[in-house]
Amino acid sequence: MNRYPLWKYATLLVALVVALIYTLPNFFPEAPAVQVSSGKATLKIDASLVPRIERILADAALKPDFVRFEGMSVKARFADLDSQRKAKDAISKALNPDPDNPAYIVALNLLSRSPSWLTALHALPMFLGLDLRGGVYFLMQVDMKSALVKKAEALTGDIRALLRDKNIRHTGITRDGNNVAVRFRDNETLVAARNVLQNQLPDLLWQDGPDGSDFRLVGSLKPEASRLVQSTAITQNITTLHNRVNELGVAEPVIQQQGQDRVVVQLPGVQDTAKAKDIIGRTATLELRMVDDSAEGRAAASGTGPVPFGTERYVERGGAPLIVKRQVVLTGDSLTDAQPGFDSQTQEPVVHLTLDAKGARIIRDVSRENVGKRMAILLFEKGKGEVITAPVIRSELGSRIQISGRMTTAEANDTSLLLRAGSLAAPMDIIEERTIGPSLGAENISKGFNSVIFGFAAIAVFMCLYYQLFGIISTLALAFNLLLLVAVLSMLQATLTLPGIAAIALTLGMAIDANVLINERVREELRAGAAPQVAINTGYERAWATILDSNVTTLIAGVALLTFGSGPVRGFAIVHTLGILTSMFSAVVFSRGLVNLWYGRQKRLKGVSIGQVWRPQTSVPAKS
């Protein structure tokens, strides 16, 4: 009765092997590495950089373990710190000829030394949280109100232009919070205006004004439109933050949305909050200017002549220099949106720009006079400008502009992202901020690790003494639980924090409960006079219902923490909940497997090594 079919043993073995493989990467020490990522919003890194870096390293007579393109950056791992430093110097010298204006960010990093076959299996070590490795954490609140106000402001201008176009007279347009109010002289114009506005501006919901004496229309943003404004605002802010954080040269920054209107920024390894805040809070601006395509301009661009008066020389994305007039046609404030799309006739990828009413008026006048000429869109960051794109004006432009030509879909996406990412859609405030020094992080790791090890050892010693062979089996099951838990966390690529380590310790301390329940039950059956094999079987069976019940209540608490907790509590809750689930498997199925393997085949089992089983009258130990 105490035998498992072969497939059950096989399942256990497979689980053990898989858990071992995925736990393994966590034990490899970290090796020094160099990470190359984009230093400019306009530069995109792809796999083609790998051979270039390999060549640079070969020239410098450095042998990396590997050079790999991963995520958004190229990483090269080295055997020692010395070659890491040399490699960093060599790479930054080769990639950034102008040190004042670096195109690439070359940062020192640490990579796991785990062998590549493990990496190929996606067996990667867990991330360490900021409290374990040191760094800066910001929680930022996006001011959604002002994003909505900005939108209403833009709409006010649009309404004014629209009514002028249709020759509808109004007596005033005002913005009142997020609403726009338009006043009229009589009811006829009001009705006419309402028809026009409802057709042309689908984002607004129009209602007649409250007071009867006055002819007034009040437009408010529709809920779905305002939701769209908010979600665009937050994604735009995140993109902008990414670009700015890149400049800090942080190896692995984390920028995530939290909830509806919050952004979390984690910068491991950074210690100076002041500098980080300064960079995060910086604004970038976008400008539209005309390109000087005159003979002198072209000569200056090719480097054969001087830069003409009233113009400046900028480098276009892709490398070609361009002579641009100093006079600014439009600033980024007038640009309300930029989206990638396709041309309705040619189906080639394009970027659609939307301008507000003021911008549209200016661009109409400028474009009318400059058909056939080129207009440059410049992005200024850190006081340095760069031409994102310089399209040719084909015809008179309005509030909707389409940029087309020689673009792939990916390029159209990038360009529109850049146009949008120039500035923050809505202001952000830092509402929570933490810094943890690197030495404190290392201390926290060793403290958490020691807690788990010593606690585990104490439990193991006690269990082995008290329950003998069953104690050893329980300890093995507990160790298996630890292995499974770490493997699952590594598979999920969870971030390990100090509360997470505490949760591992606590979960192990609680998980032993299941084995104690089983062992006590088996003893009890023996005490009642059951044969050893029967005692094992009924012991396990009866304990199971209780184990299930008791774990469900713990699980309820875990889920509550997971749902309502944030930050450190969440880390605790994830580990705790997963630990409860793995403990049910390891304590019941795995330990039973070991017991069956040991005792299952012995037909005439006389005694079980489960410590002394005391009987009220006879006091005879069960072990013969």
Binding site: Q271, I431, G455, D549, L561, T563, P568
Partner: protein, 342 residues
């Protein structure tokens, strides 16, 4: 080795009244301290700034306190943290003081008190270039910034709300589960017993004015789920005993159930406590109150499950008929093997 050699069922329920009165008194004391002293919430809940600095030599708390108080940033707390060289400074949210500047100002004052000057030095750490504020005085670093935490007041309010929601969720979830799995009387008994644990843990924190942080809240909720376990195990036994021993009275059944699970209760809690003790000893100051909350929770968890939960169920009038509702599988109630069938 066998710790528990119990010949007869221990008559726990004979003293049920005494235990309940003891519980009630402890409970009332806890409520009293919570009401009069209140919890010492960490800045995670109240908003504010925490700065942890490490001195090269043993820290002069008085000097540090005078230096920080001279800044006029509100009611500042300065105290040792962990070792004699680590100092923790808490600055509450105060009107007229910009939160973002508090860290720089406080650290500046501490540095000045040690006779050093602040420079944004470059420190080539192994994990990348990291610049940080460095206080230097004649080539040495008398004080260094270990950790800072700035929490806005609105975040704190939300955390407190979420904490309350989590507690309500756990209580409701466990009650529904127990009512569904056993009987409403048990579910009330278990929740009353375990909430009384929670209140007592909070009472301890209020009495000693220990810092109540997010991790303590996590510990409290984890312990709530855990000590309900205990009640569940005992209730399981009560149900089983009702089925097995038809002639026993309710009181005898409860006594028998508690007696037969007591060894498991002590061993399990002992094991968990070993782990928690290990955290208390090796976990350092960050895990200190977390482990303290767990310790109190585990100790009172044993007490309340053994002496309080079952007693409340008894007062509520649990009967054999409540639990043994002629289930479909139950053919012979006297069959000892039919016990754990649910």
């Amino acid at each position: 080795m066998e710790f528990f050699r119990i010949r007869r069922d221990i008559p726990f329920m004979r003293h049920a009244l005494v235990f309940n009165i003891v519980s009630l008194l402890t409970f009332l004391a806890a409520v009293f301290f919570l009401a009069t002293r209140g919890l010492h919430f960490s800045i995670e809940f109240t908003g504010g700034t925490v700065i942890e600095v490490a001195y090269a030599q043993t820290a002069d708390i008085v000097k540090a306190r005078t230096a920080v108080e001279g800044l006029n940033v509100g009611e500042v707390q300065v105290q040792n943290f962990g070792s004699s060289r680590d100092v923790l400074i808490r600055v509450p949210v105060a009107s007229g003081v910009k939160q973002s500047e508090v860290v720089t100002r406080v650290f500046g004052a501490l540095c000045k008190a040690e006779g050093g000057t602040i420079s944004a030095g470059q420190e080539a750490a192994q994990s990348g270039e990291s610049a940080r504020q460095v206080c230097s005085a004649g080539g040495v670093e008398p004080v260094r910034l270990q950790r800072t935490e700035v929490v806005g007041p609105q975040v704190g309010r939300e955390l407190a709300e979420d904490g309350a929601k989590a507690l309500a969720f756990v209580v409701a979830g466990i009650m529904i589960y127990l009512a569904f799995r056993f009987e409403w009387k048990f579910s009330i008994a278990a929740i009353v017993a375990n909430l009384h644990d929670v209140i007592i843990i909070l009472g301890f924190f209020a009495f000693f004015q220990w810092e109540f942080s997010l991790s303590v809240l996590a510990a409290v909720l984890a312990v709530l789920g855990y000590s309900v376990n205990e009640s569940v195990v005992i209730f399981d036994r009560i149900r089983e005993s009702f089925r097995r021993y038809r002639k026993m009275t309710t009181r005898e059944v409860i006594d028998h159930a508690i007696t037969s699970t007591i060894s498991r209760t002590i061993i399990t809690h002992g094991s968990t406590q070993m782990m928690v003790l290990s955290m208390l000893i090796f976990g350092g100051p960050t895990l200190h109150y977390f482990a303290v909350a767990l310790t109190i929770g585990i100790l009172f968890g044993i007490y309340s499950s053994v002496f309080v939960a079952a007693a409340i169920a008894m007062w509520l009038g649990v009967k054999r008929e409540d639990l043994v509702k002629a289930g479909p599988k139950e053919t012979d109630p006297d069959d000892p093997n039919a016990g754990a069938v649910v």
